[in-house]
Symmetry: C2
Amino acid sequence: MKSDIPVTSLQRLPVYLNYLKTSGNGEQYISSGAIARALSLGEVLVRKDLAFTSAQGRTRVGYVREELIAALEEYLGCNNRKTAAIFGAGGLGSALLSYGGFGNYGIDVVAAFDNDSAKIGGEIGGKPVFDINEAREKTRELDVKLAVICVPAKYAKDVADVLVDCGVRAILNFAPVLLKVPEGFVVRNIDVAANLAILSVTQ
Amino acid sequence: MKSDIPVTSLQRLPVYLNYLKTSGNGEQYISSGAIARALSLGEVLVRKDLAFTSAQGRTRVGYVREELIAALEEYLGCNNRKTAAIFGAGGLGSALLSYGGFGNYGIDVVAAFDNDSAKIGGEIGGKPVFDINEAREKTRELDVKLAVICVPAKYAKDVADVLVDCGVRAILNFAPVLLKVPEGFVVRNIDVAANLAILSVTQ
DNA sequence: TAGATTGTTAATCGATTAACAATC
DNA sequence: TAGATTGTTAATCGATTAACAATC
């Protein structure tokens, strides 16, 4: 079911959700056309995307805003809580430990892992920093389902191996390195510098 | 010329570059097939992508590694220095101010802007933090061509307006907000929480 | 020469857009 | 009813893959 959705569509769902949550002023309904105009997309595309969720539009009026928000949240799993951990408690890792935005998607960032003894045992953003060598034990204990890799490039592969060993199957990787993981594991890469470079080529 | 490249291809170029720079062990040549296998891509796709750069393969042997790296760097503009500024000197902004990876793409992060008087006038990662109200003057002075928005969602629109006013035409936006900018401006969005949510839906 | 590789042209596949029937 | 909107089916567009000639 959820595997049938194109990645491109899936990537737009959070955009719709953000838009719906930050607009509307008490309007009860919203049409695909209105969403499309606001986000500069085609309106058929919007309807097709929304059709992957349980949302049902009403002819003549559009979608009930609240229902649509609920359908998107349900589809994106915002209601079933999931636990995430940050690997690498440097600048980026620390920032993510203090970032409040994950909660909207039902994600609880519960801990960080690092190899720096100055950081291990401490807290950042109110979250404990554990020794990376304890990853196996702690991720199991905390039921960590998602990992964010924020270590320098040269350590990223090792961390990925640890994650595979821990059975943490979903990995968001900020290191500019291609990670090889077994079947059943998923990696998404965010290379901030490359994104900025692409931008400067485009412009 | 550069506008002819599909975004999908453009996005893969930094991946090729990273791979080439971190592999090879003194090998002089590399074939599209070898790159394709390493990155799990089709080999024709790799050749097509590389053809957008000035790289020229040699039949029987592949590409000269050094030439290919140079062609990618040239295409991605790694050799002409560009100046970037960070807007929002919070956790994420501070992390980016200290991050060394931009240099690979010819990007110099030279300053941050914020509205917090406790931060203004100080330095983070050796880079000065200026008052956002001085953005117009300072971006001109420093010849800032790229901006990274790291402020909380509610301020992102205002910052984008400032950037438009400053004529900073390329914007990387970490706030989960859709920014409207005039023709000729480019925005790329990175919503970290949404990326993590997508990952958890996929898996 | 035979074989490996590039680069290009044609075919396929998937995503987006257009057309349109259904509905309230 | 007329008009606005959804949801679906068909057409288009663009990106990826397959086929293959050229080459060293």
